[in-house]
């Protein structure tokens, strides 16, 4: 549903055309990096030297000098690229400038000593595009960093900036914007990897007005500077993403929460906000579309924890940045209790690209579940350090060896720390593992492998056995045993009773945050099971009438019961014969139906599965019964799962823990009191007879 472009939108298009028409592709342009990295290596002095030298040598009229954002190759800074030939100079000092102007700019010759030398081949490389560090990347978000002047909105507009915003405002409904982001498969770049479109939709649909959006640029993880690089190189791309997002979500106020420790990034994003306001891209009635949105740049005050979204919101509200429990999630109750959508800087920066080029274009990159590219800070003891953009799913080896040029000083790589302090160390043998968002199962497996490898003093394992196949579980158990035998502590959190009893000597039971039992595992587990069974522990459950009966598809469960057939017995014991009875309303007179009953222990072991013969039954109330013999079940708690199956394969009803019951053993067998080993304690027929009667036989 395209709307007619407004006067303001047409003016923006005209402005872009004019800027482009004024640009001469053949004009020599010197791009000096002005990012924090190169500034630390005095790139500002290099730029000043160029200004003087261009005047002195009389080329200041014909040659353009541009201070750009961070092109990423910080190790080699200050960086210089001379367009249109893309001659690439590294480690440029002010004293080199006169020679660059006279030799390269005027005579077109290359200054050999300033060229980048490939550490692997020793070859000198003239052109930026040939440098392995750049050649092996896929730069989309970072494409314009190093190309445009982040202080000039004209540069961004000329590079198709704010085109996506115009498209969103005049050609798309907010729902269509969300659908496009959804379809692209974009996931949050902050770390948790939640689907961006889904998050937006939740916030859009949440009750409450006003709604807020937040850009999380509180990049506190040591070693990470992707957000800084992006903001210093292309601040308008983040703003444009936020405006589009606000339009989709229905927010009119946004916040950019940025680290106080990034003065240059703060200055540039503030400048970008002012420029956008001046050019009718922020504020009331954006581009004459009727949509209004504005942004506040809010500084962090040096609290690492404020990268966490609830802490960040507390900080914006002017309080101490202490995280709170979720739910409620920000989408329901965020800033000042209103629906709030928080995305990472890189996530916002992706939005204009996706809107402009479409979801399919984005979805082509990366892996099946992890789309697009992502930015890494490759730092530490590698040859080429810097900001790197690569498709999702590449391996760490590619990042370190192909782009990073390998480990410096020719040493052997032992481990890579990923994800900052909250990440972990990945040993060298896992270098070929693809970098992507992992399924929760895979993630837990990797995390366990890494945790166990680090020889921890305390190994905390939370439900790791819930994922992974038997082989993995066996390995986990073995590893945990090793750690425990080395005199270290294993803290194992689980709902798997068998595993707890097998691994732990001492257990504590925590219920709703409160300590309930602290004792030997055997005691705690049985207490836990007794508590649990008490909730469902009625030997009869009845649902009464149709309105609340369980089931669908033509069968409705009415009643389940289990009790000793001897009515004088008031508790189920190991010597009881048990009668299990089921009643259901049938509305499928022409189908073959049967019961399937699975009995299991509360620790999850299936004891047996018994099925009734499939028969066709008339409409009405149907009754089914089976009997469990005496001296069969062991002492313990059991639960019954009921299935009603049509035509031997189609499950109509599947009710887990339909009834939970306890079997007691108060009898004495063979002088032994207490629990017998095993799930069952059957009384089989034993035949013990005399083969040969020889009274003279003696055992020595």
């Amino acid at each position: 549903m395209a709307k007619a472009r407004s006067v303001e939108a047409l003016a923006l298009e005209k402005r872009r055309d004019e800027i482009l028409a004024g640009q001469d592709a053949a004009r020599v342009s010197i791009k000096v990096c002005g990012g924090t990295g190169c500034l630390a290596l005095s790139s500002d002095e290099v730029a000043q030297a160029f200004e003087q030298e261009m005047k002195a040598q009389g080329v200041d009229g014909s040659v353009e000098l541009k201070t750009t954002g961070c092109p990423g190759f910080c190790e080699q800074g200050p960086l210089l690229t001379i367009y249109p030939r893309l001659i690439f100079y590294t480690r440029v000092k002010p004293k080199d400038v006169a020679e660059i102007v006279s030799k390269t700019i005027i005579q077109g010759e290359v200054v050999d000593r300033l060229l980048y030398k490939d550490p692997q081949t020793g070859e000198k490389i003239v052109y930026e595009t040939e440098v392995p560090f750049y050649k092996k990347q896929k730069r989309i978000l970072l494409k314009n960093s190093g190309l445009i002047d982040p202080r000039k909105i004209e540069d961004y507009i000329a590079a198709d900036g704010y085109k996506a915003l115009e498209k969103a405002l005049f050609e798309m409904t907010p729902e269509q914007v969300i659908a496009e982001v959804n379809q692209s498969g974009l996931r949050g770049r902050g770390g948790a990897g939640f689907a961006t479109g889904v998050k937006w939709e939740l916030c859009r649909n949440a009750a409450g007005d006003p709604k807020y959006i937040v850009c999380n640029a509180d990049e506190g993880d040591p070693g990470a500077f992707q957000d800084r690089g992006l903001i210093e190189g292309n601040p308008h791309s983040i703003l444009e993403g936020m405006i589009i997002g606000a339009y989709a979500i229905g927010a009119h106020q946004g916040f950019i929460y940025i680290r106080n420790e990034y003065p240059l990034a703060v200055e540039l994003i503030r400048l970008a906000v002012e420029q956008a306001r001046h050019d009718c891209l922020l504020g009331e009635n954006i581009l004459g579309s009727g949509f209004s949105f504005d942004v506040v740049v809010q500084l962090g005050a040096g609290a690492f924890v404020c990268g966490e979204e609830t802490a960040l919101m507390a900080s914006i509200e002017g309080r101490t940045g202490e995280p709170r429990a979720r739910p409620p999630y920000p989408a329901e109750s965020g800033l000042w209790g209103q629906p709030t959508n928080i995305n990472n800087t890189k996530t916002w920066a992706w939005v204009p690209h996706i809107i402009q080029h479409g979801a399919d274009w984005f979805a082509q990159m990366g892996t099946e579940k992890s789309k697009g590219t992502t930015i890494f800070s490759v730092v530490g003891k590698v040859k080429n350090t810097g900001l790197v953009e690569v498709p999702m799913g590449i391996s760490l080896r590619y990042l370190i060896e192909d782009i990073g040029g390998g480990v410096s000083n020719g040493k052997k790589l032992k481990a890579v720390q990923t994800g900052g302090p909250s990440g972990g160390c990945i040993p060298a043998k896992f270098l070929d593992t693809p970098v992507k968002y992992y399924s929760s199962g895979m993630y837990v497996r990797l995390a366990f492998a890494v945790a166990a490898h680090l020889e921890p003093e305390i190994l905390v394992v939370d439900e790791v056995l819930a994922v992974g196949d038997a082989a993995f579980q066996k390995k986990c158990l073995g590893k945990m045993g090793d750690v425990a035998h080395q005199g270290r502590t294993v803290l194992f959190v689980s709902h798997n009773m068998v595993a707890i009893k097998g691994i732990c000597a001492r257990s504590i039971l925590i219920n709703s945050g409160k300590l309930q039992f602290d004792d030997e595992s055997e005691v705690v587990v049985s207490n836990y099971l007794r508590n649990l069974s008490a909730e469902n522990n009625a030997s009869i459950r009845e649902w009464g009438d149709f309105s609340n009966a369980l089931g669908s598809g033509g069968v409705l469960l009415k009643r389940i019961s289990i009790n000793p057939i001897d009515e004088n017995e008031n508790a189920i014991t190991t010597s009881s014969v048990l009668k299990c009875n089921f009643q259901f309303w049938n509305n499928l007179p022409n189908d073959l139906l049967n019961f399937s009953i699975i009995l299991k222990t509360l620790s999850g072991i299936d004891v047996f599965n018994t099925v009734s013969t499939p028969i066709s039954m008339p409409s009405g109330l149907i009754d089914g019964t089976f009997f469990i013999p005496s001296d069969f079940l062991n002492e313990g708690t059991y639960s019954i799962r009921v299935l009603i199956v049509k035509d031997k394969h189609q499950i109509l009803l599947n009710l887990d823990d339909a009834i939970i019951f306890e079997v007691h053993d108060n009898t004495e067998h063979h002088g032994w009191y207490g629990k017998w080993p095993g799930v069952l304690h059957p009384k089989f027929d034993w035949a013990v007879s005399i083969i040969q009667n020889n009274s003279s036989f003696k055992l020595l």
Binding site: A40, L41, S315, G318, V379, G380, L387
Partner: protein, 160 residues
């Protein structure tokens, strides 16, 4: 140490009296006076009608704020992971030796305060030091003296 209250009031006016303006105001006051004096916090509390305990809570929570007077020049040495592996600790030791202070302390003449931070986002250039807002990348203990000398020369003796 007396403070010029009017400058605080100007800052508070700019950020509004809403709680939302508390952190931006404190940051600006800190920039202006290099630290947050108890007088300043008291003034903020009165003007914004926020209980003094809450103002202190925020001021003591965030690392950017100092409740102790700081020197005219702030020297920040990064000890983030990347800088650490490249010798950030040797760098901070050397600065401390030259100025005869430890991290978190201020020289007696109130010229320099030395702080360790956890990341300045210049990891590719580690170890990094910031002096008077200027970043010095790929530093080494031996380069420190030369950088500091420039600032020591400018130093005007405090008049007591």
């Amino acid at each position: 140490m007396t403070i010029d209250i009017s400058r605080i009031d100007t800052i508070l006016d700019r950020h509004g009296k809403d709680q939302r303006g508390l952190i931006p105001s404190l940051l600006e006051i800190q920039n202006e006076y290099h630290y947050l004096s108890s007088d300043a916090l008291q003034r903020v509390s009165e003007q914004m009608a926020i209980p003094i305990i809450q103002v202190y809570q925020v001021a003591s929570f965030y690392k950017a704020f100092s409740l102790k007077p700081r020197g005219k020049q702030l020297i920040t040495v990064c000890l983030g992971t990347a800088c650490h592996v490249r010798g950030g600790d040797r760098l901070i030791d050397q600065v401390g030796r030259l100025l005869n202070i430890q991290a978190g302390e201020t020289t007696k003449d109130m010229q320099f305060t030395l702080e360790a931070v956890n990341c300045l986002g210049c990891c590719a250039l580690g170890p990094v030091m910031v002096l008077d807002g200027k970043y010095y990348g790929s530093m080494s203990a031996s380069k420190v003296e030369k950088v500091l000398e420039k600032f020591m020369e400018q130093e005007v003796p405090a008049n007591g």
